[in-house]
């Protein structure tokens, strides 16, 4: 197990190194300058500016400087937002993003698991078909399409919930649902398959034979065992939530990291793009790592095969 974790952490570090280097060099490839009205300045003024920001140094020196400050947790300053440090800009926006992601994850996995369990307990009834339908629709249709349609029909037409912004609990309902559709469908599908399999196994028959109640069988014996493999989908789900939140925050005007990212892309604010990019990469990679390790701890079978073949 220790060997497995060490190996995974090693890969993580290599991947992070590649992502940060890639980000740096690709950003350098982009034409144009980070300063406004750069062309209008005289040669001397330009050089002073470039010197101040260290942009006159040879590329390897710039790269080294960037990597060193990155390790120290310094992501540079924004070109567009009054020289605010990128870390400060991002830190201010972590709250809403984290809250939205957390809510969507909790709502998504709980609803999804419930839906899957109910579908498995009531196989081939309309409940089962309904849950399958929700799973297919939720898995296929992108979250931003849901967001747009719900925003129009629920907020604009019916006026039940606020259209956008982020001022209180009622503002979080629509974005959470839109973002949770994907986790709901994935969890429901996965849960149903697992539950059906577990319900058909011998120990359930034994529990039934000894006279355990239906409730006890479903929730005490079957659910626990069926839940284990569901942990594997949590990683990809978290990643998809982060991707989805970029657009959802944009649509609902939520002051989160995703909105900042899109804003910086549209304003060519390179340090912020690089900073958010790296932050996303770290989050993605760490989440996947944690889920993989967690899964190894929960299910001993993975620990053995995972350490050797993967």
């Amino acid at each position: 197990m220790v060997k497995y974790i060490l190996k995974r952490v090693g890969y993580m570090i290599i991947t992070l190194f590649i992502v940060t280097s890639l980000t740096f060099f690709l950003m350098k490839l982009i034409p144009g300058s980070p300063f406004n009205n750069f062309e209008k300045l005289s040669e001397v003024q330009r050089n002073i500016l470039l010197d101040k920001y260290g942009l006159n140094d040879p590329l390897p020196v710039q790269y080294l400087n960037y990597m060193v400050s990155l390790v120290k947790g310094d992501l540079g300053v924004s070109f567009q937002f009054d020289n605010t440090p990128v870390t400060e800009l991002i830190a201010n926006r972590l709250g809403p993003s984290a809250q939205l992601g957390f809510q969507a994850m909790v709502v998504g996995s709980i609803l999804g698991i419930l839906l899957g369990v109910v579908a498995a307990l009531r196989q081939n009834t309309w409940i089962d078909y309904g849950s399958t339908f929700i799973a297919v629709v939720g898995k296929s249709i992108p979250s931003f399409i849901f967001a747009g349609l719900m925003q129009y029909y629920i907020s604009v037409k019916l006026g039940w919930l606020p259209v956008m912004l982020w001022k209180g609990p009622e503002y979080t309902i629509l974005p959470t649902i839109a973002l949770a559709m994907f986790p709901i469908s994935i969890a429901a599908r996965f849960m149903r398959t697992e539950m059906v399999e577990v319900l058909g196994s011998d120990f359930i028959t034994l529990a039934r034979a000894k006279g355990a109640s239906r409730w006890q069988i479903s929730f005490k014996h079957a659910l626990r065992n069926a839940l284990i493999p569901v942990v594997t989908v949590l990683g990809p789900l978290a990643v998809s939530l982060m991707t989805g939140s970029l657009v959802i925050e944009q649509i609902f005007g939520i002051p989160g990291i995703g909105e900042q990212f899109v804003k910086s892309i549209n304003m060519n604010d390179y340090p912020v793009i690089m900073g958010t990019n790296i932050l996303f990469a770290v989050l993605f990679i760490v989440v996947i790592l944690i889920v993989d390790i967690l899964y190894g701890i929960i299910d001993p079978r993975i620990r053995i095969s995972g350490g050797k073949s993967k």
């Binding site: 991947t15 992502v19 890639l22 982009i30 747009g148 129009y152 944009q250 990019n277």
Partner: protein, 342 residues
């Protein structure tokens, strides 16, 4: 019960004539892999219906822009923001094709009558007066083109990489697999965004950005299959007969894994459609006057409250395409996957 005396005598029976030449006859017509798979796909009604819808969509993507009298990129600012109106359907009040819009206070008015426009825009017009019907189908065409191209390129790279890695084995295989592991670890969102920033938005850059990370799953699947076939007799036979490595891979192994290749490709198409629409949303999509479904929805968002049809119609289009592709892919997986075969 009647008390009939039924006597069964021996002479009522005669031995069956056994024809030794027919004893080995197979009664059912023999089916090849594709016929067999088709039988299974056909049972899955969702997949069949989705396939039909997709075929109609693909045909409309090419025919659609031609059957309206308007071009997708011709601007007519006098006719901007007109709601959908279709001949014949405009009198059916519960359909949204009567050319009416609602004001802020909830009252309805016929935009065509108020603005004295004598025309029929089937899906309405956008803020520059371009015909939405032509734009939606043109956008569908572009979105599907990007998705199919990305999927095909993924397939080509993935199959070649996976086959080489698996077939050669040894150190080459382990180096190639380590490379894949690192690439898989890089979130594709980040690579796609960076690539588009460097290459500038356009159809080709989007395809390139999607394929840079997209081929890895195909490569893994193909490698696993190649490893499985490598030790089997038909490969040994081909080798004994002097077949070259490339002909063993491409003529003997790959035809045997068409099933998994098709399934994988079918799943990567909706994924590509999703990413294309996603890029449009974060401001990295196609530039005007080109349209894809993603840019149309994104543009529709900006005028959602006043002109909801501009957002709803392309949204429904994306939704239909995505659901259909997923259902077809699921159906094909159930039909083609050898593990599911009985």
């Amino acid at each position: 019960m009647s008390n009939k005396d039924i006597t069964i005598s021996k002479d009522m029976f005669a031995p069956v004539h056994i024809d030794p030449s027919k004893s080995e006859r197979i009664a059912k017509p023999s089916l090849n892999f594709w016929q067999d798979s088709w039988l299974r796909v056909r049972k899955n009604k969702g997949a069949v219906v989705s396939m039909i819808i997709l075929v109609i969509m693909i045909i409309m993507a090419f025919v659609g822009p031609m059957i309206t009298p308007y071009d997708y990129d011709t601007q007519n600012t006098k006719h901007n923001n007109l709601p959908p109106r279709i001949q014949g359907l405009e009198d059916v009040h519960w359909l949204p094709f009567d050319g009416t819009l609602s004001r802020r206070d909830g009252t309805k008015y016929n935009a065509y009558e108020v603005r004295k426009v004598d025309a029929y825009y089937w899906f309405g017009t956008d803020n520059l007066g371009r015909d939405q019907f032509a734009r939606v189908w043109k956008g569908t065409q572009v979105s599907l083109f990007i998705a199919f191209m990305a999927a095909l390129i993924d397939m080509a790279i993935g199959v070649a990489y996976g086959a080489i890695s698996g077939y050669l084995g040894g150190r080459i295989d382990s180096v190639m697999q380590r490379i894949i592991e690192v690439i898989v670890g890089i979130p594709n969102l980040i690579v796609v965004v960076l690539m588009i920033l460097v290459l500038k938005p356009g159809i080709i850059p989007i395809i390139i950005a999607l394929t840079i990370t997209g081929w890895t799953s195909m490569a893994r699947v193909v490698r696993a299959q190649v490893l499985k076939f490598k030790g089997q007799e038909f490969v040994l036979a081909a080798k004994t007969l002097g077949a070259s490595n490339s002909s063993i891979i491409f003529k003997h192994m790959i035809p045997n894994m068409f099933g998994v290749i098709i399934i994988n490709t079918m799943f990567s198409i909706p994924n590509a459609i999703f990413f294309e629409a996603f890029l449009s949303f974060i401001g990295l999509g196609l530039q005007e006057p080109h349209a894809s479904l993603g840019t149309l929805v994104n543009a529709g968002f900006k005028s959602m409250i006043a002109f909801p049809y501009q957002m709803i119609i392309p949204s429904i289009m994306i939704a239909i395409i995505m659901v259909c592709f997923n259902l077809v892919a699921d159906g094909l997986r159930d039909a083609l996957d050898p593990k599911m075969r009985d």
